[in-house]
C-alpha cells in the first residue's frame, strides 16, 4: 500500500507520460504494429523475397495469385505482364517506398526547420523573405508543383525525392516558425540571453528542443504524404523508372491490365493504403499523446 502511494507521488518522466497516453490509443498501437511489420519486411527484403524483383519467368505471364483458379504456389501473389513475381517486387518495393518517404521527410524537415527557425527567431526582413517564399510555394497545387519540379529535374527516384520535398517544406517552415515565435517570448530564452548565450545556441539548444513534439507529429504525417506523393509521381512516370519495383511505378505498369488482371494493381495499391493508413494512425496517436491540449 505504502509502496503504491510512493509510486504515484514520484512525478512521471515526460516519456512515461507519453507512453501511457499513446498505449491507450488502440488505433495508434495497431498502426504502429503494421508500420513495424512493413519496416521489418523492408529491412530484410533481400532475404525475404523468394526471387529477384527483376527476374523474368518465361511463360508465366500474368499468373493470378495462388488462391484463385489458375494460380500456383510458386508465385504466391501472381506475376505481372512480363513474368516477374509480384510478391518479390512488393517486398523489395517496401524498402524503396519507405526509404523514399524517410528521405523526403529528412530533406524537407531539415530545410523546413532551418528556415522556420531563422524566420521565427529573427523576424522582420528574414521572416518576410522566407514567408513570401512559402506563400508562393503554397499557392500552387502541391501535386502539380511536384510534377513541374520532377519534369524540370527529369524523371528518376532521386529527383522525385527533391520534387516532393520542396512541396513539403512550407508545412515545416510554417509550423516551426509559429512554434519558435511562441517559445521565443518565454522566460528561459531571456534567461539564456542573460547568461551570455549567442543566437545560434539559443535557437538550436534552447528553443528547438522545446518545439520537438509538434515537429515529430508533423514528420510522421509528412512521411505518409511523402510516400503517397512519391507513388503518385511514379504512377505518372516521373518517379522511379521501370523496372525499379517501386509501388507507384508498379501501379502504372499494371494500369493497362486493370480489367483482365486486377491483382496486379490490387496488391501494390493495398500496400500503399496500409502503410499510409498506419502512418496516419500513428501520427494522430502521437499528436494526441504529445499535445497537452488534447490530454484527458
Amino acid at each position: 500500500m505504502e509502496l503504491e502511494q510512493a509510486k504515484e507521488l514520484t512525478p512521471q518522466t515526460p516519456f512515461q507520460e507519453f507512453y501511457q497516453s499513446f498505449a491507450l490509443n488502440k488505433g495508434a498501437v495497431i498502426g504502429l504494429a503494421v508500420l513495424l511489420f512493413f519496416i521489418a519486411v523492408g529491412i530484410s527484403s533481400p532475404f525475404l523475397a523468394p526471387y529477384d524483383p527483376t527476374q523474368l519467368f518465361d511463360g508465366a505471364y500474368r499468373l493470378p495469385p495462388f488462391f484463385s483458379s489458375g494460380g500456383n504456389t510458386k508465385f504466391l501473389l501472381g506475376t505481372d505482364d512480363v513474368g516477374r513475381d509480384i510478391l518479390s517486387r512488393l517486398i523489395h518495393g517496401t524498402a524503396l517506398s519507405l526509404g523514399v518517404g524517410i528521405m523526403i521527410v529528412v530533406v524537407s524537415l531539415v530545410l523546413g526547420t532551418i528556415f522556420g527557425l531563422l524566420a521565427g527567431y529573427f523576424g522582420k526582413s528574414v521572416d518576410r523573405t522566407v514567408m513570401r517564399f512559402t506563400d508562393i510555394v503554397m499557392a500552387l497545387p502541391s501535386t502539380l508543383l511536384a510534377i513541374v519540379v520532377a519534369a524540370i529535374l527529369g524523371p528518376g527516384l532521386v529527383n522525385a525525392v527533391w520534387a516532393v520535398s520542396i512541396v513539403a517544406i512550407p508545412n515545416y517552415i510554417r509550423l516551426v516558425r509559429a512554434l519558435v515565435m511562441a517559445e521565443k517570448k518565454r522566460a528561459y530564452v531571456m534567461a539564456a540571453q542573460a547568461y551570455g548565450a549567442g543566437h545560434i545556441r539559443i535557437m538550436v539548444s534552447e528553443i528547438l528542443p522545446n518545439c520537438t513534439a509538434p515537429i515529430i507529429v508533423q514528420a510522421t504525417l509528412g512521411l505518409s504524404e511523402g510516400i503517397l506523393n512519391a507513388a503518385a509521381l511514379g504512377f505518372l512516370g516521373l518517379g522511379a523508372q521501370p523496372p525499379t519495383p517501386e509501388w507507384g511505378t508498379m501501379l502504372a505498369d499494371a494500369r493497362p491490365f486493370l480489367e483482365n488482371s486486377p491483382w496486379m494493381v490490387t496488391f501494390p495499391g493495398l500496400c500503399i493504403l496500409l502503410v499510409v493508413l498506419a502512418l496516419n494512425l500513428v501520427g494522430d496517436g502521437l499528436r494526441d499523446a504529445l499535445d497537452p491540449r488534447l490530454k484527458r
Partner: protein, 334 residues
C-alpha cells in the same frame, strides 16, 4: 565605482507614438554594495535592469550621457561584446524561476552549459563545479538534484538553481529582479538570506529590485524609490525607511502592514493606500509626476517638475518641492 548610470532615458517607439519608460535616471553602485530599487509595477525598474544587461527589445531607444560598468562603456558595445559581458560581469535572477529554466534539460545540464559559455573548462570539470555550486546555494542532496528536471523542483529549489547559475561565473554585479515575488512567503526569507550571504562571501554588488519595502528594508545598504521612470527618493536604507521625505515613499511605507503601531490602531482598521493610478506614460502629467496622487500637492507641483535635490547633512536625495518634515509627517499619519 562599479556601475555608473548618468541620465539614462529609455523610449519605446510604439505605434501610437513614443513612450518614455525611464527618464533621466542617474545612479551609481559601489563594489560589494547592495542597492534596493523599489516602485510600483510599470515604474521602469525592470526596463532599467534590461538596459544594464543590453537586453532591451529592438524598438527601445536608449540614451544616456554615461553608462558604464567597471569603467567599460556599455553604450558602445556590439552584440558580441554584450554576450561576453552578460553572465560574466553582470548576471540576473528572474522573477519566476520555474519558467526561467529550460524544461527540456536537467538542472545539471543547464548549469554545465552556463559554466561552459564563459569558462574554458572540460565538461567533467564543469560537472564538478556545478555540484559545488549546488552545495553553495544550499540544495540538499545536490548530486541527485543535478539529474532532476525543472518540473520536479519546488519553486524555492528552482530559484536556488537560478542563483547557482547566476553566480557560476562570479559576476561583479548580480541583478535580482523580484527574486521572491513568485515564491511562498516562508521561502522568501530563505532566498533573501541566501542572496545576502552569497553577496557578502563573494563581494559582489547586488541590485535587489522589488515592490516590497519589507524586503529591501532588511537586506540593502541603500534604497532608491522609483516612480514613473524617475527616482523620487534615494539614500541610505535607514534614512529612507525611517525618515522618508517624499510623499510617495511615505505612502508606500504607510501602506505596509508593519507600519501600524499595534497600540495606536487595532488590526481591523483599513490600511492606508495611495490614491489613483500610475500615470499613463504617453500622457505624462505636467510638473511633478506624482502630483495627481499627492495629498500635499501645491500649485508649483502642477506647473514645474522638481529636481532631485540632496538634503543638506544627510546623504539622501528627494524629488519634491515640499519634502515632508519628518516630525510633522510621522505624527500626522502614523
Amino acid at each position: 565605482m562599479l556601475l555608473d548610470v548618468q541620465n539614462l532615458t529609455i523610449t519605446f517607439n510604439t505605434k501610437t507614438g513614443p513612450l518614455t519608460a525611464v527618464r533621466n535616471l542617474s545612479f551609481q553602485m559601489e563594489m560589494g554594495e547592495t542597492l534596493g530599487v523599489v516602485g510600483e509595477s510599470g515604474c521602469g525598474k525592470s526596463i532599467t535592469n534590461l538596459a544594464i544587461m543590453g537586453l532591451l527589445p529592438p524598438q527601445a531607444v536608449t540614451s544616456a550621457t554615461h553608462l558604464s560598468l567597471e569603467g567599460k562603456n556599455l553604450l558602445s558595445l556590439n552584440e558580441r561584446e554584450w554576450q561576453c559581458l552578460r553572465g560574466k560581469d553582470v548576471a540576473m535572477i528572474f522573477q519566476d524561476p520555474m519558467s526561467a529554466l529550460n524544461p527540456c534539460y536537467s538542472v545539471g545540464d543547464q548549469l554545465i552549459e552556463t559554466l561552459l559559455v564563459h569558462a574554458e573548462m572540460s565538461r567533467s570539470d564543469a560537472a564538478l563545479e556545478s555540484l559545488n555550486l549546488m552545495e553553495q546555494v544550499g540544495i540538499p542532496a545536490p548530486k541527485e538534484r543535478l539529474k532532476a528536471y525543472p518540473h520536479e523542483l519546488s519553486g524555492g529549489m528552482a530559484q536556488r538553481v537560478m542563483i547557482a547559475m547566476a553566480i557560476s561565473s562570479n559576476p561583479k554585479l548580480l541583478i535580482a529582479d523580484e527574486p521572491t515575488t513568485a515564491l511562498d512567503v516562508t521561502i522568501q526569507d530563505q532566498i533573501l538570506r541566501l542572496l545576502k550571504d552569497i553577496q557578502e562571501k563573494r563581494q559582489m554588488s547586488l541590485m535587489l529590485v522589488t515592490h516590497d519595502l519589507g524586503v529591501v528594508a532588511q537586506n540593502t545598504d541603500r534604497i532608491q524609490v522609483m516612480y514613473a521612470g524617475e527616482v523620487v527618493e534615494a539614500g541610505l536604507t535607514q534614512d529612507v525607511i525611517h525618515h522618508s521625505t517624499h510623499p510617495y515613499t511615505f505612502g508606500l511605507l504607510a501602506g505596509h502592514p508593519d507600519a501600524r503601531k499595534s497600540g495606536e490602531r487595532n488590526h481591523k482598521s483599513r490600511l492606508p493606500s495611495i490614491q489613483g493610478m500610475v500615470p499613463n506614460l504617453r500622457q505624462r502629467p505636467k510638473g511633478c509626476q506624482f502630483h495627481p496622487r499627492c495629498s500635499f500637492a501645491q500649485d508649483t507641483c502642477r506647473l514645474e517638475a522638481p529636481q532631485l535635490t540632496v538634503t543638506p547633512g544627510i546623504s539622501r536625495a528627494t524629488r519634491c518641492y515640499y519634502p515632508l518634515n519628518r516630525g510633522e509627517g510621522r505624527t500626522d499619519q502614523c
